[in-house]
């Protein structure tokens, strides 16, 4: 069983996608701004294909109503589309049951849901929570808050100098742990973590495994069972879907045993002046009117991704990562320092780097002048940046609509940057 990384043996190929045809489906690339858009910030948020934009507009134009509570046909149609979106999400991540798929507002809420609803019911003073040094704030701050409120002990898996998780003391770190929360892919280093390996060890130690798959689900085929997760969180806007929607998947038995998170409509079965009874899964965790149009949009995004095939998306991105690593190295050598693994198979399409002495803010500004969108900053992973010994990085990240020409544009603009700042 090749359990360590379920993606290790996917091929890396640049000809699997017809990028020109794909780009043509994204209206934003048609807009005539000052210059062609070179969008290299999909790790922050992806662009949206026409199919997604139209699915949401079409929903509002022809069948909007509040869900679950209406007898009339319009409400039934809206409910059906919302629940079909849930089923589509479930299939996309190979969830054993649709009852395990909870819609949230974003990945951050999904992770807070776990930390607070599961955490408060299951964690007490002195209990151990294991995180990693490469977590996004979304998978750190909720646990810091729980630690503050409940008094748990936080332990961290460190990283090696190449940006891999340091598993040398895994078993010792896991001793007595009640929960292990880790990212499947770092949004700074690009590192693909050996989730299954950590999950198996965590389960042996009796801990529950929370996977932040915000950077993983959009880019690789996902199977929650193969990953060994108990909870898995991701977010719609990074996977061609709309803002305003995220997903928490959880194992049915674990979700069943949990108290609810937020209180209100949808999530209850009965309310009295002195108490309430929660609803069934998954609605127990969906308080208030859910993101209905957003679910419809996310389902459309999944249809687009399924149509292209997640294997192909991964193959394309891995190849493009290899291309970029090679091209930038050839051009800039040691002037450009890439953080994270050097082997494309070990990482996703996220490249954080330092360029000469130029501050990432200035790099990003100069690149923008050439229509190139990259992030500069701490990427909501300050502890990781401290570990790397930098206060900011420049980050370029790609998706199915990017190709070598985008990498070329990046390299050229870096030259311009050099001209401006380095005498």
């Amino acid at each position: 069983m090749a359990a360590m990384s379920p993606v290790a043996d996917l091929p890396s190929r640049l000809d699997v996608l017809d990028v020109a045809a794909i780009r043509a489906e994204f209206p934003i690339f048609e807009r005539c701004r000052r210059r062609p858009l070179v969008y290299l910030d999909s790790a922050a948020s992806s662009q949206k294909p026409r199919a997604v934009i139209q699915a949401m507009a079409g929903y509002y134009e022809s069948c909007h109503a509040n869900v679950h509570r209406g007898v009339y046909a319009l409400a039934e149609e809206a409910t059906s589309r919302y629940e079909q979106a849930r089923a589509a999400v479930g299939r996309f991540i190979h969830a054993p049951s649709t009852r395990e798929v909870v819609f949230t507002k974003n990945a951050t809420e999904a992770l807070n849901l776990v930390a607070f609803a599961w955490g408060r019911a299951n964690l007490g003073r002195g209990d151990v929570v294991v995180l990693t040094e490469m977590e996004h704030h979304a998978n750190l701050v909720p646990w810091l808050m729980v630690a503050e409120q409940v008094g748990v002990e936080l332990r961290y898996l460190g990283i090696t100098d190449e940006g891999h998780l340091d598993l040398s003391r895994l078993e010792a770190t896991l001793e007595g742990a009640k929960v292990v929360a880790l990212t499947a892919m770092s949004n700074v280093l690009g590192t693909l973590n050996p989730v299954r390996r950590v999950a198996d060890a965590a389960h042996d130690a009796g801990a529950v495994v929370v996977v932040d798959a915000s950077q993983y689900v959009p880019h690789l085929p996902t199977d929650v069972t193969a990953l060994g997760a108990d909870f898995l969180a991701f977010t719609g806007h990074k996977m061609l879907g709309p803002t305003g929607i995220g997903v928490l998947w959880g194992r049915e038995a674990v979700l069943e045993a949990m108290p609810p998170f937020l209180g209100g409509g949808e999530m209850i079965r009965d309310v009295r002046l002195d108490g309430y009874t929660p609803n069934e899964l998954p609605w127990k965790f969906e308080a208030g009117t859910p993101p209905i149009a957003e679910a419809v949009g996310l389902a459309a995004a999944i249809e687009v991704l399924d149509g292209i095939g997640m294997d192909a998306v991964r193959a394309h991105e891995m190849a493009l990562t290899g291309y970029a690593l090679g091209a930038l190295d050839a051009r800039f050598g040691s002037d450009l320092v890439v953080h994270g693994p050097r082997t494309p198979g070990d990482r996703g399409g996220v490249l954080s780097f330092g360029f000469k002495d130029v501050h990432p803010h200035d790099v990003a500004q100069v690149l923008d002048e050439s229509g190139i969108c990259v992030r500069a900053g701490h990427h909501c992973a300050k502890p990781l940046l401290r570990r790397l010994g930098v206060s900011a990085t420049t980050r370029a990240s790609w998706y199915l609509y990017n190709d070598e020409s985008d990498v070329e544009a990046l390299a050229q603009a870096l030259d311009a940057c050099s001209d401006l700042f380095c005498l």
Binding site: E76, G90, S97, T98
Partner: protein
Amino acid sequence: MSGLEDLYREIILDHYRNPRNRGELACPPARRAEGFNPLCGDEIVVYLDVDAQGRVSDVKIAGQGCSISQSSASMMSAAVKGRTLDEVRALNRAFKALMTIHESRLEHDEGDGSGTDTPVPDPAVDLGDLAALQGVVRFPVRIKCATLAWNTLTTGLEELAPSA
């Protein structure tokens, strides 16, 4: 109003207006099970007397709700009275099969059947009046109304004899 006439067949309205087996039974010896539809507030109470031979010797229905939930409960009471528990379970399965197509479309994955054990209709079971509820599947929200009495009955039966 063809759609509506399909939902509100004459026999359904008859059971709604003249519910059979309405009332209560003393507990014990009878069993009492309560069912509740949180979406619309429908409530069904099923009273069940099962004799030593495992036969439903008496059944009564209390509670309130819409025409579909009330008539379904009335029809069910007529259908199960005098039946053995095995026969009741077969009826239950047959009725659930009648109601299932749309419920699964609404709530569960299509195609892969993951997580659901979809009941298959058994042609040997005669649903009698209950077959008139078939029109409900065209109105997915009402399926829960139609199945409420049966789900309540199931709860009552499980308490009697948990099945393997």
